[in-house]
Symmetry: C2
Subunit: 443 residues, 2 copies
C-alpha cells in the first residue's frame, strides 16, 4: 500500500506542531511548504523592529527543525490554491501536488481596510523584512533629527504614531517610549528629548480590549509613565507620507506604524467554502472543512466556535499549537479506524508587555501586572522560543540590555541592495576621469 501523502502549508506555530506530532507515523509521507525558509517566533518580532534582538535570535530554519525527522520533506514554495474535488494543492513552481490529507496553517496578513496605499506610509509587522524596515525607519528618524536645525521639522521627525492598541501596538509604543527617553539623551548631542512624542491610537474605548478593564487601565498608566500618549476613541481617516489624519486633526509624524487590522490568507478564497468577515474558513468542530474531512484549517486562518454562537477562538499562538496537535491526533485516529474527537481549547491566559519591566497578565483566572507579570512574560516567551541556542542567546541579550540599558542591534541596513553599492555623489558629478581601477588578486 502506498504511503499516504500529508501536505502541510505553513511553518508557523500550527504547521510545526502537526508535523512534529506525526514524526513516528511511518505510514505517512509529510511535505511542509512555506514561502519563507524560517519559522518565526512572532511574539518577539517587535523586539527586532525595535533593535533589541537580531533576526537570527527569533527565527530558525524550518529545514533544521526537521533534520532528524526522516518522514518529512521541507520545500520553499508558495501555495496558490486548493482544488478540493481533485484533492490537489496548486503551487507557484511545482504545479499541482496531490494529497491524502491537507493542513492549511498559513496565518494572517495585514489589512488596511481597503486602503492598500496606506501600507507604504505605515508598515505593519508580520515578517523579518518588515521588522528590519521598521527598524530602519525609526533609527533613521533619530539620525535625521540630529542634523535638523528647524525645530518644527525636528519635532516631526521625533513624532512616532502607532495605529492600533492591541498587544503588538502596545509593545511597539512602549519600546518607542523607552528608546526616545533613554537613547536620545545619551547618544545624541542636538536632540531635545522633550520634543520626542510617541502616540498610540486606538479606535475603541480602551487599549488591549481582550483583557479586563482593570488591566487595560493599568497598561494605559504604565505606558504614560514611559512617555507614551494613549488616545482612545480615535479613528484614523487617512494616512499619507508623514501625516496621520484623525477627522479634522492632522498629525505630522515621520514614522507611522500599523498594528490595527488583520485578514486571513488569500488561499481561503480558492476553497469555495463559507468564510467569515475576516476571510477565515468556518471549520467543523474537529478543525476540518465541512464536507472535506481530509482538509484541515487551523490557527489564524480558521474560524472555530466551540459552542454554536460563541465568539470564535482568538488568533493566538497557543490556539494554533493545540489545534496542530489535535489535527495530528485526528489523522492518526483515521489510520487506526477510530472516531475523531472535537477540538477543545485549554485557555492558559494571555499577557502583554509594556517596556522593559512592566507587563499585564491574565493567567488561569488570576490577574496581575507590573514587574512580576513581566517576569512571567519573559519566562513563557523564552521557554517557547525554538532551539536551545536561541533561548540562551536571547536571555544573554536581554540580560545585557537590562544591565547596560543599551539596544544590541541598532543597525540601519540599506533597504535596497543595489543602492548600497559604491559611493555615488548626490551633487553634480565631478568632471570625467579615466576609470580608476585596481587589480588586487583576481580576474
Amino acid at each position: 500500500m502506498p504511503k499516504k501523502q500529508v501536505l502541510i502549508v505553513g511553518g508557523g506555530f500550527g504547521g510545526l506542531r502537526v508535523a512534529r506530532a506525526l514524526a513516528r507515523a511511518r505510514d505517512l509521507e509529510l511535505t511542509l511548504l512555506d514561502r519563507r525558509n524560517h519559522h518565526l517566533f512572532q511574539p518577539l518580532l517587535y523586539q527586532v523592529a525595535m533593535a533589541a534582538l537580531s533576526p537570527a535570535e527569533i527565527a530558525y530554519p524550518i529545514r533544521t527543525i526537521f533534520t532528524h525527522q526522516r518522514n518529512i520533506r521541507v520545500l520553499l514554495e508558495t501555495a496558490t490554491g486548493v482544488d478540493l474535488a481533485a484533492r490537489t494543492l496548486r503551487t507557484a513552481s511545482l504545479g499541482a501536488l496531490p494529497y491524502d490529507y491537507l493542513v492549511l496553517a498559513c496565518g494572517s496578513r495585514h489589512s488596511y481596510f481597503g486602503h492598500a496605499d496606506w501600507e507604504e506610509h505605515a508598515p505593519g509587522l508580520k515578517s523579518l523584512a518588515e521588522a528590519t524596515e521598521i527598524r530602519r525607519r525609526v533609527l533613521t528618524a533619530f539620525e535625521l533629527a540630529e542634523k535638523e536645525p528647524d525645530p518644527a521639522a525636528q519635532r516631526r521627525l521625533l513624532t512616532f504614531v502607532v495605529i492600533g492598541g492591541g498587544p503588538t501596538g502596545v509593545e511597539l509604543a512602549g519600546a518607542l517610549g523607552e528608546i526616545s527617553r533613554h537613547t536620545l539623551s545619551r547618544d545624541f548631542r542636538r536632540i531635545d528629548p522633550e520634543r520626542a512624542r510617541v502616540i498610540l491610537l486606538e479606535a475603541g474605548p480602551r487599549i488591549l480590549p481582550t483583557f479586563t478593564p482593570a488591566l487595560s487601565d493599568r497598561a494605559t498608566r504604565d505606558l504614560e509613565k514611559i512617555g507614551v500618549h494613549v488616545w482612545t476613541n480615535t479613528l484614523v481617516t487617512a494616512v499619507g507620507p508623514g501625516t496621520v489624519t484623525l477627522g479634522p486633526e492632522t498629525l505630522q509624524a515621520a514614522t507611522v506604524l500599523w498594528a490595527a487590522g488583520v485578514a486571513s490568507s488569500e488561499l481561503n478564497a480558492t476553497l469555495g467554502v463559507p468564510l467569515d468577515r475576516q476571510g477565515r474558513v468556518i471549520v467543523a468542530p474537529d478543525c476540518s472543512v465541512p464536507g472535506h474531512p481530509e482538509v484541515f484549517v487551523i490557527g489564524d486562518q480558521a474560524h472555530l466556535e466551540e459552542q454554536p454562537g460563541a465568539p470564535p477562538l482568538p488568533g493566538l499562538a497557543p490556539v494554533a499549537m493545540q489545534q496542530g496537535r489535535h489535527v495530528a491526533r485526528s489523522i492518526l485516529a483515521d489510520l487506526a479506524g477510530e472516531p475523531r474527537a472535537p477540538f477543545r481549547y485549554r485557555d492558559k491566559g494571555q499577557m502583554a508587555t509594556i517596556g522593559r519591566r512592566r507587563a499585564i497578565a491574565q493567567l488561569h483566572g488570576l490577574e496581575f501586572a507590573g514587574f512580576l507579570a513581566w517576569l512571567a512574560w519573559l519566562v513563557v516567551h523564552v521557554y517557547y522560543l525554538i532551539g536551545f541556542k536561541n533561548r540562551l542567546f536571547v536571555m544573554a541579550e536581554w540580560t545585557w540590555s537590562y544591565l547596560a540599558f543599551r539596544r544590541g542591534a541598532r543597525l540601519i541596513v540599506d533597504k535596497d541592495w543595489q543602492g548600497a553599492g559604491p559611493v555615488r555623489p548626490a551633487q553634480p558629478a565631478p568632471p570625467p576621469q579615466p576609470p580608476a581601477v585596481a587589480v588586487s588578486a583576481g580576474a
Copy 2:
C-alpha cells in the same frame, strides 16, 4: 579663540582611531560623518554572508562608540566633494561644511574593471546589505536545488563560483565548501552532495599572492581538502545571469560572487590632486595631501610609499588604524607648535582563514598554517572586535557552531520589503470576492 574644527569622513578602522586619539583635545571640535550608522568589522563580513554570524555581531553603531566622548558629533551624512581652496567639505544634505582639519578615511569600493553590468550577477562583499544579499542567494540556491527534478538544472544551482583569490575570495570559497559538504547531507533530502561544486577563479599564477609561495600552496591544498576547486591563471571574460565565461569555456553557475577588484572612493576625483591607477590619493610621508598639510587621507583611500619607489602600503586594517593614530598625533603636534613625524608602518603580519579550522599566517617573520594558525586568527579577530558584548557573543556563536556543526543565521530575508507583504497568488487570481477584513483592536 574659537575651537578648531576637525572633520573626519568615514567611521571605519582609520576614522575611528583618529577620533579616539583626539578624545582629550579640548581645543578641538570633532565631527565624524558616515553614510551608514555603523562601524563594520569588515574582516568578518564573509561570516555574515555565509550565515555563520548575524549582522549585529560584527557591526556597532558609531554613535554608541562615542557616547562618553563629549568633543565629537556623529552625523549620518554623505560627503560629495572637497573644495581644498575654500577649506570646505560638500555634503549631500548639510551643504558645505568648513574645516580647519579634514581627514578622509572612506575606504574602497568594488571595481568591475569597466563592466558595471557584472555587479548584478556577481555581487561583491563590502556592506551588511551586500552580505545579506549574498546569503539570500546562496541559501536560495540550495532551496531551489532541493525541488529541482532535472539533474543538469540541479547541478547549475549547486555550482558556486568565486572570482578572485585574495583573502576574501579564499574565505568565501572555503565556507561554501564546508556548507555544501556538511549542511547538504544532513538537512536536504533530495540533493546529491556529489553534484555540488565550488570553484575559485584567480587570474594570477597563485592564490593569496601577498603571502609566500609555500603558504599559497598550503592554502590551495587545504581548500581542495574541503572540496573547493582552485583554478589559477584563469581570466574571466564575461559574467552573465548564471554564467561565467572564461575565454572559450562557459561555466553554468547559479551563484557567482565577486572578490576581485577594488577602487578608491569617488571623493578623490574632486580633490584635483594626483591619484594613482586605483584612484588613490598619493600622499606625503605624514599622510597629508601635498601642499595641504590640513588635509589627511588614510587607509584604503591613500597611496603611501614608505621609501620612494617602494610598493605602496597594502589596504589592510592595521595600516588604516596606525595611520589614524598618526594623523591624530600630527594634529596635536601642530597645536603644540612641534614638527610632524613621517608615518612608519609597523608590519605585524597577515593571516587568511580557510574554513572551520585551517588558516595560514605570516607573523613577525614566522610562517605557520593549520589549526594553530586558525587559533591565532580567531584570537586576533575576536580581540579587535569592537565592544565587549560583541566579542562575547561571537565567541559563543563560534563555539556553538564548532560543536554542533551548524550555522546560526541561516535566514533568507526577502530582498525587497514591499515584496514581503501579504500572500499574493503567483497564478491567475481567484474570482473576485468582497474584501475580507477584520477589525482587531484599532482604527
